[in-house]
Symmetry: C2
Subunit: 159 residues, 2 copies
């Protein structure tokens, strides 16, 4: 199978959104995706882009993507964050995820960042094993905290 | 006690770095802070800043800070991330942390973001209780994954 990794263009965003929705379904949160194709194009390709997206193709068909952006660590300075790494269900296990991760790590290395981070569901053992094999540390004592849109409104109304 | 919250300026960065180091000590990682005052000034105030910092003062003395930046959720679009919220040990429990968090949530609300997120150590029960009381959800099934500088180099050398 002919696999290539390339930087995404605006035209890829409909397929990227399909992959995002497929992952949300896998993560048992199918109704949480509010982002639209137009928003992805505007945010990722206009002015100062909010993210950078890489596409994984197999035989000229988009089967995976990785989406990254910079974060700021008060310990390390600029660090790279991998928000999503998705391979279509039909094409898992053929090495495209590894190629996408390789590309992301190379991208961060070329930028000279001191850390590349992401998040993983603690029940996603295949992903955890894959990341650990690659040398990443699973920081099990750190939890993600989120105040959602309704939570923000309630917070503000209580001020 | 007279408490005010304001946006940080370049001149505040030496004191901000002191607070960062104090927190790293509390988190049992005192040697992990590599960032310098010059780097904070360059990254936070030149060109397109990598973060925004708010200062908490008590009686005209800097006793706390909150540091935020934008992230990109493939579900929600632009979201605000709170990287650090620090109050000096001497001034814990007098309400400055709440005022800083209020300021951050208002800032995110004014930006119209659909989510504000941060991370917490799972053994920091006081912080977890504080955040839950404020309506935030602790996503215990999400773990933070990090590939550090040495890990990046090893990864690249194995490609």
């Amino acid at each position: 199978m002919d696999q290539i990794i390339r930087t995404a263009s605006r035209e890829d965003m409909p397929k990227v959104l399909e992959l995002i929705k497929e992952l949300a379904h896998f993560e048992r949160e199918p109704d949480q995706v509010e982002v639209t194709v137009d928003q992805l194009i505007k945010d990722g390709f206009d002015g100062h882009p909010d993210f950078r997206c890489f596409i994984g193709e197999i035989n000229n068909k988009i089967e995976g993507m990785a989406l990254v952006y910079m974060r700021y660590s008060t310990w390390k300075g600029k660090v790279l964050h991998l928000e999503d790494l998705i391979v279509s269900k039909a094409m898992r296990g053929v090495g495209l995820g590894t190629k996408l991760l390789d590309h992301v790590i190379k991208y961060g290395y070329d930028l000279g960042v001191k850390r590349i981070g992401w998040e993983v569901l603690d029940w996603n053992e295949d992903a955890i094993k894959f990341y650990e094999k690659k040398g990443a540390k699973i920081m099990r004592d750190w939890d993600v905290v989120q105040l959602d849109e309704a939570g923000i409104k309630t917070y503000i109304s209580n001020l």
